[in-house]
């Protein structure tokens, strides 16, 4: 909570600076999302918009319960590759305490995370490939819907989880993100829709809020420079090569 208060203090101090300066090629009236963004309330365990447990299939529910049990006994590494510097996947990357930077350009919107410098690119005006290669962060295309940037992603591997608690997803995950800039340009409302027919009985949605921090320079974090995660990576290797 202290951090959020600090963000707002920073906003007040720098009000009217960075977002008054749109990218040179921004179309008239088009929102400018360029800048550093912090999530207001980083979620731990995702719920649907009405606060329910997401509609897991019976087998995915078993997997979720196993993850919860593993976390409870201090064995997050069993399902959480971020403990050894593997990418968190999506939407989890967008739900971390660490900020991300948006670089908005006419054909591509880039998201550069403060988590290990991981980049995403949403190619505007393109369609998702029919059979995308499985990737940690998937393949993303985007479009503008009024003041809302809509990002569609698919082509995920199934080695990540949706949230810190360990909600599973399959390689059939199709993620839709809708980012809407507030009229004063200081906040961004996001809506995430999870469509994963293997692990969920129906598509479901959750929301998040972000606050802009003008002028903030996101440090280029190097995950493997974190001694605990580095040690975890080495431990996993030793176990794997046995």
């Amino acid at each position: 909570m202290r951090r959020v208060a600090f963000c707002f203090a920073g906003l007040l101090a720098m009000a009217g600076t960075a977002w008054a300066d749109p990218p040179p090629d921004a179309a008239p009236g088009q929102p400018d999302l360029t800048g550093a963004w912090f999530i207001v309330h980083p979620p731990h365990a995702l719920k649907t918009v009405d606060g329910s447990l997401p509609p897991l299939t019976p087998s995915a529910l078993q997997v979720y319960r196993a993850h919860l049990a593993e976390a409870k006994r201090g064995d997050r590494a069993a399902f959480d590759g971020t403990t050894r510097c593997l990418p968190p996947g999506l939407p989890r990357l967008m739900l971390e305490k660490k900020p991300f930077e948006i670089l908005q350009r006419p054909k591509v919107v880039y998201f550069v995370s403060g988590d290990n410098r991981l980049p995403r690119r949403a190619y505007l005006g393109e369609k998702l490939p029919d059979d995308p290669d499985p990737l940690w962060l998937g393949y993303s295309v985007g479009r503008w819907d009024g003041r809302t940037l809509v990002v569609d992603s698919a082509g995920f591997n199934d080695e990540t989880v949706l949230d810190d608690a360990g909600l599973p997803h399959s390689d059939q995950l199709h993620l839709t993100e809708r980012y809407t800039l507030s009229h004063d340009g200081r906040h961004m409302a996001a809506e995430f829709t999870i469509d994963d027919p293997k692990d969920y009985t129906q598509p479901w949605t959750f929301k998040a809020q972000y606050v802009r921090r003008p002028g903030y320079e996101i440090p280029p974090e190097v995950c493997m420079d974190n001694p605990a995660r580095r040690a975890a990576a080495m431990k996993a290797t030793e176990e794997a090569v046995k």
Partner: protein, 318 residues
């Protein structure tokens, strides 16, 4: 599921490197050189067309081993041209070629560097000339020789790149993987395909009085006419100047001068490196980057080692 299994096996190989480095204190050597695999997986490229954006990597644009086009006289293949096989240098890659016919035309605007660029030539030793080492002080020249000999014994030092920590400067600019440049108000961002390396060049501020030390340093830039001048300090001294292992200190200072030539089809770079600790004197070298609108940068997760690509027995990217 089969793809996951294959990913996991690659992960093991990658982390074995990390584990070996860590167990031996990070300064010791690896047990075995990468196996020889003719061809191997080169830096991947993808067409820029909307039709098949993540399809199989085409052959266009792959760096090929051996002298680059028009490279002229035979390359020096040992340190100081000594002929000593224990000082054999890793042969350079030919590097990028011009974009294939039918690619989007280059943008002639000298101040718009946006797009995907790929370096021509890939030298493992970044001295003033190919095959010539940086003007290292004797102590650091001896260290370079030790590192080259360790590599040639098949036990290369596990450097920061191998450990997924960071390439450092100027090494990251010599990677054969593409670099995407993005320009937004107040900054120029370099998104490197290799190991999701990132450089942010601040155009709206000087270096801080106490800059954060990072692998690629604190970079500030300004335009001198049509030349982008980038000044970089605060580079983590655990990294090397180049792949062969030329040392730099925390006082390394790198000045890069970028200028579009040939109507924007090429980006000419002059790099000047100063280091009062490890170098006898400052030195410079030049590089050409090709405009490659046909390349779409791909996901490259060093921590998973999904792109560990041995080519002719040499691991070109870890």
């Amino acid at each position: 599921m089969s793809s996951c299994i294959s990913m996991r096996s690659k992960l093991r190989a990658c982390l074995a490197v990390t584990a070996a480095a860590g167990m031996l204190g990070g300064s010791a050597v690896l047990a075995q050189a990468a196996p020889s695999t003719k061809g191997g997986a080169p830096p991947s490229v993808a067409p820029n067309g909307a039709a098949a954006p993540t399809g199989a990597a085409p052959t266009e644009g792959r760096p090929s081993r051996g002298p680059g086009p028009g490279s002229g006289p035979p390359r020096i293949h040992t340190l100081f041209n000594s002929g000593d096989p224990t000082l054999a240098l890793t042969p350079p890659l030919g590097g990028s070629r011009a974009a294939p016919p039918g690619s989007a035309p280059p943008n002639p605007d000298p101040h718009d560097l946006e797009g995907v660029w790929q370096v021509q030539g890939y030298e493992y030793l970044l001295g003033p000339e190919p095959g010539v080492p940086p003007p290292l002080k004797p102590k650091y020249m001896k260290l370079l020789e030790q590192r080259i000999r360790a590599k040639n014994r098949g036990t290369p030092e596990a450097d920061t790149e191998t450990q997924c920590l960071g390439h450092g400067m100027a090494r990251v600019m010599e990677s054969p993987y593409p670099i995407e440049i993005v320009q937004t108000p107040g900054r120029i961002t370099f998104l490197h395909e290799v190991a999701h390396e990132l450089r942010t060049i601040y155009m709206n501020r000087p270096h801080p009085k106490h800059p954060r030390v990072t692998f690629n340093g604190d970079s500030v830039g300004h335009w001198e006419g049509d030349t982008l001048v980038v000044d970089t300090i605060a580079i983590d001294p655990r990294s090397f100047i180049d792949d062969e292992g030329s040392a730099h200190s925390g006082q390394e200072h790198v000045i890069e001068r970028y200028r579009k030539i040939d109507g924007g089809a090429e980006l000419a770079l002059t790099i000047t490196i100063e280091d009062p600790v490890t170098l006898e004197h400052p030195y410079s070298y030049k590089r050409i980057f090709h405009w490659r609108p046909d390349i779409r940068p791909q996901e490259y997760i060093c921590e998973e080692n999904n792109r560990n690509a041995p080519i002719n027995g040499v691991t070109v990217a870890k």
